[in-house]
Amino acid sequence: MALAFSEESRRALDEMRSEFPDPGSLLIPALQLAQSDFGHLSYEVLQYVAAELEVPVSTAAGVATFYHNLFTQEHGRHVINICRTLPCALAGSGEVASRFEELLGIRMGETTPDGLITLRWVECLACCGTGPAVQIDFRYYEAFSPEQCEGVVAALRAGEIPPGYTAVPGGEP
């Protein structure tokens, strides 16, 4: 099975080639695009990306394992990130986490058996005044209460975007 970037990813990379004076800068975006195309950065995917960018596999692997949002293991189709850092902890992130664990039947850091949802603790999301802060698939959910958890899980299971996220006009992720 030969791996290949999607058309969209290839176009994005080509555009970036002209934007960045040094091709080394393409590695992280390439890994992000590969992750979106192939699900996660398996060793096979790392070899592919490394070959495309003409860097050693070890360089790609080093980068892939350094950053929190690059996954070298399989993870859920949707990722629920809950901020654990102090201001959000004071605001009640613990209760939000417990409620999600209860509803999904998994612990923090795990993925539901059907592969739909990964539940993670993350660090400060720069949202401290409106905590607890949650990000689901890079959308911000602020002042998140445990009562919202059920609706979020139902929406994700129905293939919909959970309501209540902070809109950025013209800025859908």
């Binding site: 040094d22 975006p29 350094f66 902890a89």
Partner: protein
């Protein structure tokens, strides 16, 4: 202001309505020479709003103009310091002000290609910013021939991939170059050897967004606010046990009560304040008593052996447990350490282990001395300031709230280990 108007604030027409939007850039390009733009910013004495508080105008002066290499400007938009959310606020409410500030800085330092390093969690904000860059390009405020001046400048956004340490300026450069975000040994400093080995200035979002006003009203005007060493105003992010958490613009030199009580509404749940991190979790804690007599300025913070950092104030009240708070923050640093230097890589998890023992009642008094000893072996011994940020607040917590830590020893009974 209606939600619609607030949403519309991002757009170019609204930013330029009334004539102020991009007036600073126009002055910088048409009325002043690049040296004069630089001089205006030096006169303002504005100090970096990202954490280090280094005077921006002085930093710009370190850039050599005769190397034959391109000069780069990098906007540090990797806001991740716990307690800080004012850059995200600026991105959401005034992205054009940031773009204008970047262009002004570029004009001053001789940069024709600037980069904005954004943390990946700001994906929505990044798309909004891209739309604003497109508006600016359409209006000839960006590109080959800005406003027909003959001067050209480009701005490229680079998204991170999730790493607090990439807010450290040299880790940021490494990340932008496609590497792991590990800070660099200095010297050489980025002004000499920065992005792609070229002279580079890195400035924080808020620092850059402050430039349009300085260009419009002058550096001298900026110094009429604040104190001599801490000019102007700053955006403080305040969270924790206050009634009205949020982002507030504060004139430097005002008492802490202005921020804590007047603006943020005082204690949130009727309990007196206990302590706060003045400028983010990397800044040593101040007790309520220390804060009661103090004012908000770089020099006042230094006198109290702390610093203003990124202006992210986290407030605790008498109902909060200093040991638990310290443990929470220590876990942050253990998680985010890049792993490059031994004192930090080994010391941060070690602090967590000791604090966990204290929190669960399994520690003995030697553990507190050990904890302080570990902090002393981290501070000043690392390639970057992360180590100091991890260790300093732990030191301050044990120093100022020793009784709370001691009460937890051996389950608080003072007896032997169980």
């Amino acid at each position: 202001m209606t939600d619609a108007a607030r949403a519309g604030m991002c757009t170019l027409p609204l930013y330029t309505e009334g004539g102020e939007g991009y007036r600073g850039l126009k002055r910088a390009v048409f009325e002043l020479s690049p040296e004069e733009v630089h001089a205006e910013v030096k006169t303002s004495n504005i100090r970096g709003r990202g954490g280090a508080g280094f005077p921006a105008g002085v930093k710009w002066g370190f850039v050599p103009r005769d190397t034959g290499k391109p000069i780069y400007l990098v906007c540090n938009c990797d806001e991740g310091e716990p307690g800080t959310f004012k850059d995200r606020w600026l991105l959401r409410h005034s992205p054009h002000r940031l773009i204008e500030g970047i262009l002004i800085a570029c004009r001053a330092i001789g940069c024709e290609h600037a980069f904005i390093y954004m943390r990946e969690e700001f994906r929505g904000e990044a798309r909004r910013l891209r739309a604003c860059l497109a508006e600016a390009r359409e209006a000839n405020l960006l590109g080959d021939d800005i406003l027909g001046s003959g001067w050209g400048c480009e701005i490229t956004i680079f998204m991170g991939a999730g790493a607090y340490i990439c807010g450290e300026e040299t880790a940021l450069l490494n990340s932008l170059e496609g590497k792991r975000g590990m800070p660099r040994v200095r010297p050489p400093f980025p002004a000499l050897v920065g992005l792609y080995g070229c002279p580079t200035v890195i400035n924080n979002v808020e620092t850059l967004a402050s430039l349009p006003a300085i260009l419009i009203d002058g550096g001298e005007w900026y110094t009429t606010y604040g104190t001599e060493e801490s000019t102007g105003t700053r955006l403080f992010s305040i969270s924790g046990r206050v009634a009205r958490p949020g982002v507030y613009e504060v004139e430097m030199g005002v008492p802490w009560s202005t921020l804590l009580d007047d603006l943020a509404g005082g204690p949130a749940r009727g309990r007196p304040f206990k302590a706060l991190y003045p400028g983010g979790s990397s800044t040593p804690m101040l007790t309520a008593a220390e804060v009661a007599d103090a004012s908000i300025s770089f020099e006042a913070a230094a006198e109290l052996k702390t610093f203003l950092g990124s202006g992210g104030t986290i407030v605790l009240d008498e109902g909060d447990d200093i040991v638990e708070a310290t443990l929470n923050v220590a876990e942050f640093y253990a998680e985010e350490s890049c792993g490059q230097c031994t004192p930090c890589r080994e010391g941060c998890p070690w602090m967590v282990e000791i604090l966990k023992r204290v929190a669960s009642g399994d520690a003995v008094s030697d553990d507190l001395d050990l904890l302080v000893d570990v902090t002393r072996h981290i501070m000043g011994q690392t390639i970057c300031a992360f180590g100091d940020g991890a260790a300093g607040p732990v030191q301050s917590a044990v120093l100022k709230f020793r009784a709370e830590f001691e009460a937890r020893l051996n389950g608080g009974s003072g007896g032997g280990n169980t």
